[in-house]
C-alpha cells in the first residue's frame, strides 16, 4: 500500500494508537496495584472489616394542642434485629433468643418472616425490649452472631387524649406500600409513613429526614467503631404541628362520650379552629402501633358500633330540624315572603292525599317564623315551603357547604348528599317523586345526608353571619376558601332571633342547653332525626357568645332519642366546662 493513499500520516496513526493503548495500560496498572499489590489490604477489609450503613430514623414531629401541650409524642423503644446473612443457624438462634427474652421462638420466627427484606438487611425479630432482656442478650452475645438491637422512636400519647380518628396512625413501609407512594424516593422500606388522620395530612411536615451512620464491623458482626473515611449524618427530626385542639376540653368531651355513640365538635367560629372533636366509640390511639394480631383486627373491624369510622367526617346522617335555618334563609330571600305572617299548626299537614305530621301532635297553634324555629314546628315549614321550589332550597344548602367536602385537614372526608331534581329523577324515575320531597327537605328529612363537620361549618357561618373561615385542626397560613352564603343582615338577624328564642323562650326546644351564666348567650337548635335503622338520632347544634368570643358546638348522639331531652343537656355540660376554663379561643 502506498503511503500517499492514506489521508492521515503514519505519524498520526502511530500517535493515536499509542494514546489508546497507553490509556488502557494506565488502567491495567491501577487494577494491578489494587488487585495484586494491595490485594491483602482489601481482602482483610472485605473479610474482616465491613462497613455497615445504618439508617437512623428521624423522630416524627410532635402534635401539640393550641397551647403547646404535647398530644402526640415519641418514645424510644428497643427492637431486636438480625442480619440473616450473618446468622449461622437461625432455628437454634431463635430458640436461644426466645429463652433470653422469655418469649416463644415461633413468635420470633413469624416476626422474622414478616420483616425479612434481604439477606443483609437488618430484620426485626422482637420489639419493646426492656433492659433486663437487653442485659440477657448482651451477656450471651457470643452465641448470637448477626443479632443486634436498635432504638426506634415510636408514637405515644402522654396526656391521655385518645382522638385516634384525628391523629391517625403511622404505618411501616413495605414493598406494596412503597410502590404506591407519591414521593417514594424519600422513603426506604421499614420507614414510617403517616397513614391516616393528621399523620397523613401533614406527613411532609412531620416526617423529618433520615440520618445515616457508618460502622466498621468485624467478622463476627461486632461493631468496632465508626468508619473513619465516611461522615455520619444526624437524623433531622420532623417539624411539630400545633393543632387548634384544647387539651382540657378535648379530654372532657372524650369522657362525656364514654359508652355513647356519636360526635361532639366544639369550634371557634371566629378563626375556624376546632377546639375539640370526638367520634365515639373510638379505639386506643396506639392500636395500630406495632404488630396487630388477627383476632384484634377482626374484633375491631367487625364491631357493629364501627369504632374505626371517623363519624365527624365520614359519618353521613339525616340532619332533621337542625337544618331548618336553611329553609328559613331560603324563605326570607323570597320577595313576597312575610316573616311576621302567622300560620296555624293543628299538629298535621295534609298534602294531596298524604298526611305530614308535626313532631308535636297536639299542634303549635298560630306562629310566625321566629316562633316556628323556637319550637321547631314542622307544619309552619310545610305550609310556607310551597312558596319555594326544589332549586331554591338546593342552592341555599349548597351555599352553606352541604353536599360537598368541607376541605377539613384530615383525609377521607365524605361529602354527604343534597338531592336535586336530577338525583330524584334518577332514583325514583321521572315522575316517581313529587313536591313531597320538598316538604321533607324543608325539615331536614328524606334523602338529605350531612356530616357533622359540615354542620359545624354551617353553625360557624350562622354565628358569624357568613364570615367564618373554614373549619380546620392545625394552625396554617392559607386555609382553603369554600363558598360562603351572602345574605342580608336582616335575614341573619332573623335567624339569630329564632335560635336565641329556642333557648330562652318558655317552649324553646333547646332550653336545657343553657348554663344560665351572666353574659354567656347561647343560640341553638335541637334536632331529632328520624332514622330508618332504629331509634331517632339526637342533635344539638348552636353557639355561645361570651366576652367577644364565640364557641360553636355540634352534638350528635346516635339512636339516643330526642335532641332537646338528651343532646341539649350534654351541650350545657360542655358550655359549663368552657366557662370554667374561660377564654381559650382568643389565645
Amino acid at each position: 500500500m502506498l503511503k500517499s493513499d492514506n489521508l492521515v500520516s503514519n505519524r498520526q496513526f502511530f500517535i493515536a494508537r499509542s494514546f489508546a493503548w497507553i490509556m488502557l495500560l494506565v488502567l491495567g496498572l491501577r487494577y494491578f496495584q489494587i488487585q495484586i499489590v494491595e490485594h491483602e489490604i482489601y481482602r482483610l477489609k472485605s473479610n474482616t472489616n465491613r462497613i455497615r450503613k445504618v439508617n437512623k430514623n428521624a423522630p416524627r414531629g410532635l402534635i401539640l394542642d393550641r397551647d403547646g401541650e404535647i398530644l402526640v409524642d415519641n418514645y424510644p423503644v428497643y427492637v431486636l434485629t438480625a442480619i440473616p446473612g450473618e446468622m449461622k443457624d437461625k432455628g437454634s438462634q431463635f430458640k436461644l433468643i426466645a429463652d433470653y427474652i422469655e418469649s416463644d421462638s415461633s413468635i420470633i420466627h413469624s416476626s422474622y418472616k414478616k420483616y425479612y427484606r434481604g439477606r443483609f438487611i437488618p430484620t426485626r425479630l422482637a420489639k419493646d425490649m426492656n433492659f433486663l432482656q437487653l442485659g440477657n442478650l448482651e451477656e450471651n452475645k457470643l452465641n448470637l452472631e448477626g443479632v443486634y438491637y436498635d432504638q426506634i422512636p415510636e408514637r405515644f400519647f402522654p396526656n391521655g387524649v385518645r382522638a385516634p380518628h384525628l391523629f391517625g396512625y403511622v404505618k411501616e413501609i413495605d414493598r406494596s406500600i412503597r410502590k404506591n407512594l407519591k414521593n417514594k424516593d424519600a422513603y426506604e422500606l421499614g420507614d414510617l409513613v403517616g397513614w391516616s388522620g393528621l399523620e397523613k395530612q401533614y406527613e411532609t411536615f412531620l416526617m423529618g429526614q433520615r440520618g445515616t451512620s457508618f460502622y466498621e464491623v468485624n467478622a463476627s458482626g461486632r461493631e468496632v467503631g465508626a468508619a473513619a473515611e465516611l461522615d455520619n449524618t444526624r437524623p433531622i427530626p420532623g417539624n411539630n404541628i400545633r393543632t387548634t385542639i384544647d387539651l382540657q376540653l378535648q379530654l372532657f368531651c372524650e369522657n362525656l362520650m364514654n359508652d355513647k355513640r356519636g360526635v361532639i365538635l366544639v369550634g371557634d367560629p371566629l378563626s375556624g379552629g376546632v377546639l375539640a372533636a370526638t367520634s365515639a366509640p373510638d379505639y386506643s390511639p396506639d392500636f395500630f402501633t406495632g404488630l396487630i394480631t388477627e383476632s384484634n383486627w377482626k374484633n375491631i373491624s367487625t364491631n357493629p358500633d364501627k369504632p374505626l369510622l371517623n363519624r365527624y367526617i365520614q359519618g353521613t346522617y339525616i340532619p332533621g330540624s337542625i337544618v331548618k335555618m336553611i329553609t328559613q334563609a331560603a324563605l326570607l330571600e323570597q320577595d313576597n315572603f312575610d316573616k311576621n305572617n302567622k300560620h296555624h299548626c293543628p299538629g298535621f299537614y295534609q298534602f294531596g292525599d298524604r298526611i305530614f305530621g308535626c313532631w308535636f301532635t297536639d299542634g303549635h297553634g298560630d306562629l310566625n317564623l321566629v316562633e316556628a324555629i323556637s319550637v321547631s314546628c314542622d307544619v309552619y315549614f310545610y305550609k310556607t315551603v310551597t312558596q319555594l321550589n326544589l332549586k331554591n332550597l338546593y342552592d341555599t344548602f349548597n351555599q352553606f357547604g352541604f353536599g360537598s367536602k368541607t376541605n377539613i385537614d384530615i383525609p377521607n372526608e365524605a361529602s354527604g348528599l343534597v338531592p336535586d331534581k336530577g338525583y330524584m329523577s334518577k332514583r325514583y324515575g321521572k315522575y316517581g317523586w313529587s313536591r313531597g320531597v320538598l316538604l321533607n327537605l324543608a325539615i331536614g328529612q328524606g334523602e338529605l345526608l350531612v356530616t357533622p363537620i359540615q354542620i359545624l361549618n354551617y353553625i360557624n357561618l350562622l354565628s358569624t353571619k357568613g364570615r367564618s373561615p373554614n373549619s380546620h385542626f392545625v394552625f396554617v397560613d392559607n386555609l382553603p376558601q369554600n363558598v360562603k352564603p351572602e345574605l342580608s343582615s336582616e335575614i341573619w338577624n332573623n335567624i339569630h332571633d329564632g335560635l336565641r328564642s329556642a333557648i330562652v323562650s318558655r317552649n324553646g326546644t333547646g332550653k336545657k342547653s343553657d348554663p344560665k351564666f351572666n353574659d354567656f348567650l347561647v343560640y341553638g337548635k335541637t334536632g331529632t332525626a328520624e332514622n330508618p335503622h332504629g331509634e331517632n338520632h339526637a342533635w344539638f347544634v348552636g353557639w355561645a357568645d361570651y366576652n367577644k368570643e364565640k364557641y360553636s358546638i355540634v352534638i350528635l348522639l346516635e339512636n339516643a332519642g330526642s335532641g332537646g331531652a338528651v343532646a341539649a343537656p350534654m351541650a350545657k355540660k360542655v358550655f359549663e366546662k368552657i366557662i370554667e376554663n374561660s377564654g381559650f379561643a382568643s389565645r
Binding site: 492514506n6 493515536a16 493503548w21 488502567l27 488487585q35 450503613k53 443483609f120 465516611l230
Partner: protein, 408 residues
C-alpha cells in the same frame, strides 16, 4: 443504491463485531451472578439485558447495511434531530432531579443523549471532510467546535456532566485526524487548565511555565503569543475572586458536581465499596456468585456503572486484563481501519466513534477504582442499560460500514 457487488462482506472487520459480542457475554455472566435474588423477570437485570441485546443486534444489522452516501447526505439533518431529542426531556417529568430520560410509553425510558453522541460525530465528520475548508487556519476549527459544543451544553444542563464531556472530547482526536495543528488544540484547552490550576500556587506556576514553553516552540507572532499567555494568567487570577463571591452552598453544588465523592452518603461510599470489592477479588477472583461485597448490596448501580466491581471481585484481575485487552484490540482496529480508509468522511467517522468508545471505557474503568471522580458513564457492551447498549451496537454497525472500502 447499494451496489452489492462492490459491497464485499468478506472485507468487513468481523473481528470487531466478535470482540463486542465477547464483551457482552462477559457482561451477561456478571449480570446473571447478581440477578438471582431479583423478584421478577421484568426487574431482573440479566433478562433485561438479553432483551436489549436482541434490540441491539437488530440495530447493528440495520446500521451496518446503511449506504454510506445516505449517511453522508443526511448527517446534518440527523444532527439537528439529535439536538431536538436532547431538548425534549426538559418538557417531561424530572427523574431523580434530572432531565436525561424520555418516557416513550414503554416499560423502560429512553436516553436521547446517547444517540446524540453518534450524531455529533457524523456531523463533525461531514464538516471536516469537506474539501473546501483549510484546517490549517485557526478560524476553520471554530465551526466544528460549535457543532460539538451545542448538544454538549444542552446535555450539561440535564444535568449529565459525563455524557457532555464525551461529546466534547471527540472534537480533539477528530481535529487532530483532519490535520489541525496540535498547537491550536492546545490553545483551546489551555484556559480550562488555567482556571483549574489557579487554586494552587505551585500548580499554577508550573502551568504558566508550560504555556510559555509551548508558545515559544510554536513560533507564533510575538504579540499573539504574549497576548495569549497573559490572557491565560488573567483568567486564572480572576477565577479565584469570582469563586469567592459564590455562596458556600453554590460552591458546594459545583464541587459535588465535579467531585461527587464530596457527598459521603453517595459516591464516596460507593468508591470505597467498589475498591474493596475489586481489591479483594485478587488475581482469580472469589468465584462466580461468591462476591461478598457485591452481594451485600453495597453498590447501588452495580449492574450498570459498577459492573466492573462485580467482575473484578468475582472473576479477578485475569478477567479485567482480558476485558482491557479486548477493548484495546477493538479500539486499535477501529483506528487502523480509519487510517486505511480511502475516503475522509469514513476515516473521520471511524476515529470519532472510536473516541466515544475509548472515552467510555476510560472514564468508567478509572472511576470504579477511584482514579477520577465518579461520572455516571456505563461500560460499553458490558454494563446493563437499555439505550446505551443499543447505541454501542449501532456504533459497531457504523464502524463495520465505514471500514469496508468501496467506491460509490
Amino acid at each position: 443504491m447499494i451496489n452489492l457487488k462492490k459491497l464485499n462482506i468478506s472485507e468487513a472487520p468481523w473481528k470487531i463485531a466478535f470482540s463486542a459480542s465477547f464483551l457482552s457475554f462477559i457482561g451477561l455472566v456478571a449480570l446473571s451472578s447478581i440477578s438471582y435474588q431479583s423478584p421478577s423477570i421484568v426487574q431482573n437485570p440479566f433478562y433485561k439485558q438479553l432483551f436489549f441485546l436482541i434490540l441491539a443486534f437488530s440495530g447493528f444489522f440495520i446500521t451496518s447495511l446503511m449506504p454510506k452516501y445516505l449517511i453522508h447526505k443526511y448527517a446534518y439533518v440527523i444532527y439537528s434531530l439529535g439536538i431536538i431529542l436532547v431538548i425534549l426531556p426538559f418538557f417531561g417529568v424530572a427523574h431523580a432531579g434530572t432531565y436525561r430520560w424520555l418516557n416513550i410509553g414503554l416499560p423502560f425510558n429512553f436516553q436521547p443523549s446517547e444517540f446524540a453522541k453518534i450524531f455529533s460525530v457524523l456531523a463533525l465528520a461531514r464538516y471536516l471532510s469537506d474539501n473546501t475548508i483549510n484546517i490549517q487556519y485557526f478560524k476553520s476549527i471554530i465551526v466544528p467546535i460549535l457543532i460539538a459544543l451545542i448538544p454538549a451544553l444542552i446535555v450539561l444542563n440535564q444535568p449529565d456532566l459525563g455524557t457532555a464531556l464525551v461529546m466534547v472530547s471527540v472534537i480533539f482526536p477528530m481535529l487532530y485526524w483532519s490535520g489541525a495543528r496540535p498547537f491550536y488544540l492546545f490553545l483551546l484547552v489551555a484556559p480550562v487548565f488555567s482556571i483549574l490550576t489557579a487554586f494552587n500556587v505551585i500548580a499554577f506556576s508550573i502551568w504558566a511555565l508550560i504555556i510559555a514553553s509551548v508558545i515559544f516552540y510554536a513560533n507564533t507572532k510575538i504579540i499573539f503569543g504574549a497576548g495569549y499567555f497573559f490572557g491565560n494568567i488573567f483568567f486564572g487570577l480572576l477565577s479565584r475572586p469570582i469563586w469567592d463571591t459564590l455562596n458556600p452552598y453554590q460552591q458546594n453544588r459545583v464541587l459535588t458536581f465535579i467531585y461527587p465523592e464530596k457527598d459521603p452518603l453517595g459516591a464516596a461510599y460507593q468508591i470505597i465499596q467498589s475498591k474493596t470489592a475489586i481489591g479483594s477479588g485478587g488475581l482469580f477472583g472469589k468465584g462466580w456468585g461468591e462476591g461478598t461485597q457485591t452481594h451485600l448490596k453495597f453498590l447501588p448501580v452495580q449492574e450498570s456503572d459498577f459492573i466492573l466491581s462485580v467482575i473484578g471481585e468475582e472473576l479477578g484481575f485475569i478477567a479485567i486484563v482480558v476485558i482491557l485487552i479486548t477493548f484495546g484490540y477493538l479500539i486499535s482496529s477501529v483506528i487502523r481501519n480509519s487510517f486505511l480508509s480511502k475516503d475522509k468522511f469514513s476515516s473521520l467517522s471511524l476515529i470519532g466513534l472510536g473516541s466515544i468508545l475509548l472515552a467510555h471505557v476510560f472514564v468508567n474503568t478509572a472511576m470504579t477504582v477511584g482514579l477520577i471522580p465518579v461520572k455516571g458513564l456505563p461500560l460499553p457492551f458490558i454494563s446493563a442499560g437499555g439505550t446505551f447498549l443499543v447505541t454501542s451496537y449501532l456504533m459497531i454497525g457504523l464502524i463495520m460500514r465505514f471500514s469496508i472500502n468501496y467506491s460509490d
